[in-house]
Symmetry: D2
Subunit: 184 residues, 4 copies
């Protein structure tokens, strides 16, 4: 089987919050992406990781969203020389995953959808968590697992993947009551 | 969102092996399906569980495979009255998952493929694990999570889902060296 | 073997902090004592639990400390009729454990020592955690386990038990740099 | 605080059984001592580890028990030059822990008690587990934690420590029904 390549862009959010023993609080100080990936058993899959920023998603501004868009374009954009670019090889490239705080994840999803909707050849999947990965009974690893799995199956487009569902943009919204994402 | 329905048929295998403290061995004595499902956070999804048998897959015979086939037919077969049958409602039915020992999983997959290939309206997904769910660092919950997620995305057909991949039958085989499934 | 009785008084602190998914913060809202006890395998031991308060230890005032002292006195005080009181039965009573925030645990320990030093017939053990029980890699269950085990071995007195050590009051202090307790 | 030194001798047993994915069975193939120690937070404690053998305790013979006795004597024996031997320094040496299969643990305990009873200056603690460390809900880490903690508190002698109790030899027996150790 050809090796699939997935690029994982992390931006912070609850999924990556870690506990500061001195301050006694949860904050976005370092990435836990590698710790999460070590717990999954993935065959024929190479995950490239890009630590873009470490922010609570309520603190993301337009400049941050532009950086996320630029990063996605860089990863999925047309290669000048196809031989050099495994990501435009239809046998290997399986898409982009963005770890993102859930509070404004859907805003970023809409923004990416507006900017990229007709240009994508792979799925771009946003995901996050309601409980930090560092907590017991977190949904973080489940959602990352679903996002990686979905990258191999979904058609090109922008999606939020979490809690067993893949929802395409435009449309999804966070349901704060239930703590999940729903179609609008 | 309409509630999706997935039917999970368990047959035993490594994924469900539990530890007998008196005998000091792992064996298929009881199902751990409910324990696994409790650890996943699934929205708009109802999982019906059917405990069909509790066997090491090396001990499965033709009569056992016929029972598995009968169970799948029962679940996905055409309803005499569509109103009575949520599983033929295209908005709700999302397929069948079979927990199965990995050693002969592909034999069962080929058998189901031969028997059902032109009659399916939903995906039928076989999965299992290389390490029992009851062990730390098991791939059991990951594979079950992927199978449930895949049930919402895959076209009708017979598949093995594990370790980040969904492989359609006919074809897949267990790679004993690497401890995973590969396309033939 | 006669059944040992241990009384566990919980007052809050980091050890019992839980995650509020809506607010995205850790706080003392409910006790996790029963969840912790379920993970230990204790023979011939009965743990009585008393949920006294749910406070960050930086918020404890003198009235709170008086309530803790009153609770300890109630538990270890002389019974009017020895037959009625398993806690003064030398075969059954094994002491008192107090779950407490680590920041002011030693203040409470000194206070209890001053008030009770010559009257104790069982050990009174303060413990807590640097990481909440709800987080992975927490020291909470280890410290509770050590405290319960120590209750069966230590001489009457006031102690802090954590990270492999039992330190008698007066004297112990929190070492904020190292995140543990040390003899002064 | 002076650094305490504990020597941990591992002999195999259920506590160290690991899962062989190819054979599908639990066996004593490698030591998990370091994995266990990484999960504990121990201050001022140095654990020296000695991997003596890897055996199911039902397979231990007299020669194996002699090797265990020799190892304990080596660790706790009088140093020819006290300056060279931290283990005879009363401020640092805190005893010996032996990881052992539970089925014949008490036989080994009696043997060590007969051989060493009047010569010990530190506690020698046998412990094991009813469920392998590699399984979820194992009692392995709890029992090791209790053994390490007990090494700092117990008087010289031979003990079995598990499930909240410390029982001195001679006397303790395995209660197979309840899956624990009891005084005879």
């Amino acid at each position: 089987m050809p090796m699939r390549q997935i690029t994982l862009i992390s931006t912070g959010g609850t999924i990556e919050k870690t506990y500061d023993e001195h301050a006694g609080i949860l904050s976005n100080r370092s990435s836990v992406v590698q710790d999460m990936l070590r717990l999954l058993r993935l065959e024929d899959t190479q995950i490239n990781t890009l630590q873009l920023m470490q922010k609570d998603s309520l603190d993301l501004n337009d400049a941050d969203r532009q950086r996320i868009l630029d990063a996605v374009r860089l990863v999925v954009g047309p290669a000048t020389d196809p031989q050099d670019d495994p990501l435009t090889d239809p046998n290997s490239c399986r898409g982009v995953i963005i770890l993102h705080g859930t509070d404004t994840l859907c805003q970023t999803g809409e923004w990416l959808h507006q900017a990229l909707k007709d240009q994508l050849t792979v799925p771009v999947i946003l995901t996050g968590a309601m409980r930090p990965f560092e907590m017991k009974r977190s949904d973080a690893l489940q959602n990352l697992n679903e996002a990686i799995f979905a990258a191999g199956l979904l058609a090109p487009g922008i999606y939020v993947v979490a809690h067993g569902n893949a929802l395409p943009f435009p449309g999804p919204q966070k349901d704060r009551e239930r703590g999940t994402f729903v179609e609008s």
